[in-house]
Amino acid sequence: MIEIQNLTKHYGEIKAVQDVSFKVTKGEILGFLGPNGAGKSTTMNIITGYIPSTSGTVTVDGYDIMENPREVKKRIGYMPELPPLYLDMTVTDYLDFCARLKEVDKKAWKSQKDDIMELVKITHVQHRLIRNLSKGYRQRVGLAQALVGTPEVLILDEPTVGLDPKQIIEIRKLIKALGKNHTIILSSHILPEVSAVCERVVIINKGKIVAEDTPENLSKNLTDFTKFKMTIAGPDKKVKELIQQVYGVKYLEVQSAGKDDEFSYIIEADKDIDVRKPIFHKLAQDGYPILELRSLGLSLEEIFLQLTTEEKEVN
């Protein structure tokens, strides 16, 4: 649906985006992740046709943004970081204006309008001036604006910035729901957000893509060991000895579990060897029950830090 090839953007000497390429298939929610100033907004501004690229191509549904900007723009709903609102208009007037601007068929708009307002929950403020709305509501009106004309592609630049936790959860739910009918690119510097909403993640740092995969695969591939936590009833010395005998265990750390005869163990093992079964059998033989077994995959946060700080060291 969206194809970005070798996208580069220079501002004089500064290289904001360098050789960025990725694809988004129809119906996918892609997370676009990176620290502040990594080139996320620049890339999104190029995809939506707000600013031209220095080189490289962007095609949406087969149309090139430079050659056929109108066709591309018709297919995209864009919510920039700062919602583009006219503060002197009421919500309905503003949305009507957007519909006319985007050349949405009048009849189609009539049937759409209430649904969109219902979806982002702004129906009850529709007659108020945007100036008088809170940040959270303005954000929603901005999102409603992107939905006008039900474009196939939604590009959302940090849609949850500045919202309170409850609103953030609501907006995330909403984006997930929208993902059923739209292709979405969502940018964020907040990791849990991306792992909660997106099926695939592109991580960008200093204008370059440093990783691209599903959140799960990213955490798998970046580590050469599996890590889990076990809580076992029994004396720690004896249990530690038993676990260490298992083939594949590379690292073991004992933690207190709060009770005298229960201890927690952080175990790291070779990626290719499943050590859980042998550990279970060994402990069962000696009568030490496993009370808890939890896998500790690398969190997206750790991956992100790993990727973006490694890059720094190289430079």
Partner: protein, 236 residues
């Protein structure tokens, strides 16, 4: 384009700015009308028009100062540019909106015509038509200059000052030209909006003057689209 035009016209009347400007224009022109036309038993409106055209030097910069600056400041420029409209349509929509308010302002002078008729005066129609057309065209040029100035900055005040400076220059360009003389004067004359206006206002409906004004407007609106495009290339 029509969507932009409609929104901008509404915006003018949502805010007090249009009412203040129209009121101000009407007040000053009424003073001129009372003392320059009625009190001196003068049945023509043309001298009034050429007197009050200077008010536009102050009114037009204020009328147009926020027309493009506001979009940059509020971030609504993103909405306009990423919608399926071309930049020239955005500029044209904005220009026409400001011009519409100008027309409303201009329409207030019809009241003087009615008063003259009631008082028994019978102005010469061809001269009057020439005067009106000239006034509208000069006003449109001033608005185009204002739209151009507002594309240069995101600060309304700066935009107003730029267009005011350009308009002041246009006001005195004839004087400068006659002072310098020679070839330079001929070049300066190319930018003289008001000398052509005097022709129209005396009833000479010269088609070249009308074409001159229309191309003047076109050039400034074209420059405006170039400024917006140029900035899109260089900004983040």
């Amino acid at each position: 384009m029509l969507a932009i035009w409609k929104r901008e016209v509404q915006a003018y009347f949502y805010q007090p700015i249009a009412y203040i400007l129209i009121g101000l224009f009407f007040l000053i022109s009424s003073i001129y009308f009372t003392f320059g036309t009625v009190a001196s038993y003068y049945a023509q409106l043309n001298s009034l028009l050429s007197s009050i055209i200077f008010i536009l030097t102050f009114v037009c910069p204020i009328l147009t100062m926020r027309i493009l600056t506001e979009d940059r400041k509020n971030g609504t420029e993103v909405l306009l540019v990423t919608s399926p409209v071309d930049v020239y349509q955005i500029v044209l929509g904005k220009f026409l909106a400001a011009f519409t308010v100008f027309m409303v302002m201009f329409a207030s002078t019809f009241i003087y015509l009615i008063i003259i008729y009631i008082l028994g005066g019978r102005p010469e129609i061809p001269v009057l038509v020439g005067g009106y057309i000239g006034f509208l065209l000069v006003g449109a040029c001033y608005v185009a200059i204002g739209v151009f100035a507002s594309s240069l900055t995101e600060n309304q005040i700066v935009a107003a000052i730029i267009s005011f400076a350009i308009l002041l220059l246009i006001n005195i360009i004839d004087a400068i030209a006659s002072f310098i003389g020679g070839f330079t004067a001929k070049i300066l004359d190319m930018f003289s909006l008001l000398s052509r206006y005097e022709d129209l206002n005396s009833g000479i409906l010269d088609i070249t003057s009308i074409i001159y004004y229309l191309s003047f407007i076109a050039v400034f609106l074209f420059l405006t689209t170039r400024v917006i495009d140029k900035r899109r290339w260089s900004q983040g």
